[in-house]
């Protein structure tokens, strides 16, 4: 979706402000939100792309004015409500008043903690041959899906070069909507700064994205 989360190339957000000796969490609740998101995902309530999509669908003014973990909390609450794991009555009372829904992988317990400290595997068997190879010139399609996608707006319609082939991966655009993994070839595609930002761009800049095959067309 063309949301405010897709902010590559936007102006006006100001300087980057590194914080010396930054703590891991600024408030204790942030750590609880992190843990709840990781645990409910591992228990099977949602996949990583669904959790991203619920953050992206927060109203733009909320997205831009909320801290990272606040967005995580708001996205988690909306997702769990939407998928029926919690109810509005639960939220209003601050306790469970509605029946629980069964989770694909059951209760998240101590025995599961070790498992989630390893990244998930997103590589899948190839359903067919790769359409592109390193060195091929490709155009990022001018497409504007209204649902979750990982093709940022700033590359759409622009021509780049395939640099690496990462094999086939779970396709975020479908898995985020519970429409299946539909594995797709994944490539690193490099764009010249001037191709993206015009002739006044710094000529020494190159920008790459990792693009799923359906995002690309041959040039």
């Amino acid at each position: 979706m063309n949301g405010v989360h897709d902010m590559g190339g936007m102006d006006g957000f100001g300087k980057v402000e590194p914080e010396p000796n930054e703590p891991m969490f600024h408030e204790e609740w942030e750590s609880r939100v992190l843990a709840m998101v990781r645990a409910m995902g591992a228990a099977g309530a949602f996949n990583i792309d669904a959790s991203r999509f619920y953050r992206e669908t927060l109203p733009p003014q909320v997205y831009l004015s909320s801290s990272y973990y606040k967005k995580w909390f708001l996205g988690l609450e909306a997702l769990l409500l939407d998928k029926g794991y919690i109810s509005k009555d639960d939220v209003a009372s601050g306790h469970s008043v509605a029946p629980a829904k069964s989770l694909k992988h059951g209760t998240f317990s101590m025995a599961d903690v070790e498992r989630i400290m390893v990244r998930g595997k997103f590589g899948r068997a190839a359903p067919g041959p790769a359409k592109f190879k390193a060195g091929d010139r490709v155009r990022a399609k001018n497409i504007h899906p209204a649902t979750h996608t990982r093709l940022p707006r700033y590359v759409r319609g622009h021509v780049g070069v395939v640099e690496r082939d990462h094999g086939c991966h779970v396709f975020p655009d479908t898995v985020a909507n519970d429409a299946g993994e539909h594995p797709q070839w994944l490539y690193t595609v490099v764009f010249d700064g001037r191709e993206l930002w015009g002739p006044d761009s710094d000529p020494t800049i190159k920008v790459s994205i990792d693009a799923f095959e359906p995002y690309l067309e041959a040039v």
Binding site: D11, F73, M117
Partner: protein, 209 residues
């Protein structure tokens, strides 16, 4: 949700923000429904606080600086190469290491959310997740580097890697001069988190830290 909705809670509302109240309420709901064990949530937080962090990435970089065969393996398949180091960190399948050279500087961003190599670098800092970095890194990387007090020769190519899929990128910075004969442990002390994101350089030998 207003404060009086929580009158049945026994903690001191006046000291808690609305967000904190809502987070506590959600945790109560999830544990009461049997979705999560509260102790398991504690254990997740503890694991993030103790097991991951930039010390993992620093060990990998120091090893690559010391061992040419490891460096080559790292650049060919970083997940596999890091896997051979045993307990450094469990990175999964999709880690890619990218090498800085005198002619090319690499910098990593996630414009769409905040993808970051957690297992190598720990949880990302606020600036990495905030709008200024995410919006500007792909259009004005030199301006972003200037915000970090970093400048590069004007002819150096700057390659920005936007982490738009589940691949995760670790920058292999250049080994500082004056470190000939140093042990891996000594070298690891010079490797900063930001040097592995591409927004900084390793520390210089002898410079105050």
């Amino acid at each position: 949700m207003s404060e009086h909705d929580h009158h049945h809670h026994d903690h001191h509302h006046s000291e808690l923000s609305e967000t904190e109240l809502r987070v506590r309420a959600l945790e109560s709901i999830l544990t009461e429904k049997g979705y999560v064990e509260a102790a398991a949530l504690d254990a997740i937080v503890q694991a993030y606080e103790t097991k991951i962090g930039p010390h993992n990435g620093a060990r990998v970089v120091a090893k690559a600086w010391s061992d040419p065969a490891f460096k080559q393996a790292l650049l060919e398949d970083a997940s596999k190469a890091v896997g051979t180091l045993g307990h450094v960190s469990r990175v999964g399948d999709h880690l890619v290491a990218i090498e800085n050279t005198p002619g090319r500087h690499n910098m990593v961003v996630c414009t769409l959310c905040s993808c970051y190599p957690w297992e190598m670098l720990g949880l990302p800092p606020v600036w990495y997740k905030a709008s200024p970095y995410r919006s500007r890194a792909v259009k004005d990387p030199r301006g972003v580097l200037a915000d970090f007090g970093v400048s590069l020769p004007k002819e150096t190519e700057i390659r920005v890697w936007d982490s738009t899929a589940e691949t995760r990128f670790l920058v292999l910075p250049m080994r500082p001069a004056g470190t000939e004969g140093w042990s891996e442990d000594q070298l690891a002390e010079l490797v900063t988190r930001d040097s592995m994101i591409g927004t900084g350089f390793p520390k210089t030998p002898g410079a105050p830290s």
